[in-house]
Amino acid sequence: MKFSKSLFTLFLISAILLVIAPYDASAKTLRGKVSIDGSSTVFPITEAIAEEFRSVAPRVKVIVGVSGTGGGFKKFLAGSIDINNASRRIKSKEVKKAKKQNIDFLEIPVAFDGITVVINKANDWAKEITPAELKKIWNTNSKVVTWKDVRSSWPDKKIKLYGPGTDSGTFDYFTKAINGKSRASRSNYTMSEDDNVLVAGVSGDKYALGYFGFAYYLENKTKINALPIKSKNGSITPSMESINLGTYVPLSRPIFIYARKDAFKKPEVKKFIQFYLEEAGGLVKDVGYVPLPKADYEESLEKIKSL
């Protein structure tokens, strides 16, 4: 009896140790590098995670670059980084290249970003817009010159258009969602890769209309208005709730990190991604993006466990 009791205690202690040990003690002493690059849209999230990760694993060097989703994938497929921040899904061309290079990867959604259609504060006629009307405005060979061309009840004034440049993931997504074909867009509008320029443009022009990432709208709510999108769900304004619930369609998109599967062999990379998924729910909101439903993070956590 006595024997089995001590055996039980021993078992209990070792069980506790087994649970705790790989979790805490090892993270503090973890060393190595986690090399990340890619989209500037995803950057603030990854940066926030990297910053917090320092208190968990102070000796791991996390490096985050911003060479754009496409530029990041190039480095990712050349094998020089562990993780790529991507504001769009990997293209089939890139998948092919990965197969050729024998690179096995994992796609992990980390947050939602809503593309926001914005208008000037003084705009008192436009209360909502339909995707069809947006297509009329933005499609290639668009004939829209005035607001009246979009909806006959709107004023006969020239519409001034602002949008992201063609290197941006936002441009890729918007054109796909609205015009039906990625990268098909009219080209006679004010373009800038810097969303702050677009904010300044729309806020200074009564007859302006533009689109860019939700985070930039959130920070500039006092300067510009979001135009609700009318879909089968009704007229929906972009917000944390509507994007999270998935009612803000078709302009909300998931953003991702892509990780090389063989990089999971490095404990510091695995730990980092694990930490990413555990903390994203809170930190994503902090930097102006919309977190995924909890279950999605848990699902990804489950997936990486076996790697």
Binding site: D37, E47, A48, E51, V62, I63, S80, E219, G288
Partner: protein
């Protein structure tokens, strides 16, 4: 033309040139004032010694300062000997052969090549071909190539401005050509060469585009320990902050610009000090 009219024209011309000078100084003044007004609130010890952060009030520029510093050291260690060597060859040994004229034209053209092209070159050669990766040495060598033409051109100018009597006196005493160059021409040309150093450090430290291409990271929480370590740099950090949605980061970037200007002025003041000293010893 009457005498009065000619005097009037003279006066107008003088005023026009003065106006141009003062207006460019005024523009600089407005820029600096704007930056100081917006950024000074951020510049303190905490800002200088903190790591990058998503929270503006906690964010600092520590790793970027060290990144830029090491970058400049690498750049100069590469560009100075190469540039001065090339200038000596072109000026003293090159002669007027077709080849040296060809090199001449190309060096002048290289000085005008957009910096992003150097970035692409650096990516292809240093990052990929040599396998240096996204490291201090890749960035330093790329910036080194970028400022090489500036150093060559200013050094050549400095060598050319050395009075002929000085090398001739040395030749007359039986000195060989390399002795003349090393002990007479170069010391005399040193102030001019240092001007080239000032110009090239000022240019290299503010470059953003080639560093982004080469792969300087935006978030690095450690000071590079070797030439092969990843790095971030001041202009990268400033660029990163200005492109953020939060307005507070825009004023934080003004703080970064103040630091960038101070680092540049500090590095240049070393060169200016030496220039002053060599100029004095030459005249004295």
């Amino acid at each position: 033309m009457s005498l009065r009219r000619r005097r009037l024209t003279e006066k107008c011309f003088k005023i026009a040139t003065a106006l141009i000078t003062w207006s460019s100084i005024a523009i600089l003044g407005v820029l600096v004032f704007q930056i100081l007004k917006e950024g000074m609130q951020w510049v303190d010890w905490q800002f200088i010694t903190s790591l990058p952060s998503r929270k503006a009030e906690k964010a600092g520029i520590y790793t970027a300062i060290w990144g830029s510093f090491y970058l400049m050291i690498t750049t100069m260690l590469f560009a100075l000997p190469t540039g001065i060597g090339a200038a000596i060859f072109l000026e003293e040994y090159g002669g007027k052969s077709r080849l040296s004229r060809f090199i001449d034209v190309n060096v002048a053209n290289l000085a005008g090549v957009p910096s992003i092209v150097y970035g692409l070159l650096g990516l292809a050669v240093f990052v990929n071909l040599f396998g240096f990766g996204r490291s201090v040495i890749s960035g330093g060598l790329t910036l080194g190539l970028l400022v090489l033409p500036v150093i060559i051109i200013t050094t050549r100018g400095a060598i050319r401005s050395v009075p002929k009597s000085i090398p001739q006196a040395a030749y007359a005493l039986g000195a060989k050509k390399w002795q003349v160059i090393f002990f007479h021409t170069l010391p005399y040309a040193l102030p001019g060469i240092l001007t080239g150093v000032i110009l090239s450090v000022s240019r290299a430290i503010g470059e953003t585009a080639p560093l982004i291409i080469v792969g300087a990271a935006a978030y690095v929480a450690f000071v590079p320990e070797s030439l092969l370590d990843e790095f971030t740099a001041l202009p990268i950090q400033i660029f990163n902050w200005t492109s953020r949605p939060q307005e507070v980061f825009h004023s934080l970037s003004a703080g970064g610009i103040i630091i960038l200007l101070s680092v540049m002025l500090t590095m240049n003041s070393v060169a200016i000090f030496f220039r002053h000293k060599t100029q004095r010893s030459r005249n004295g």
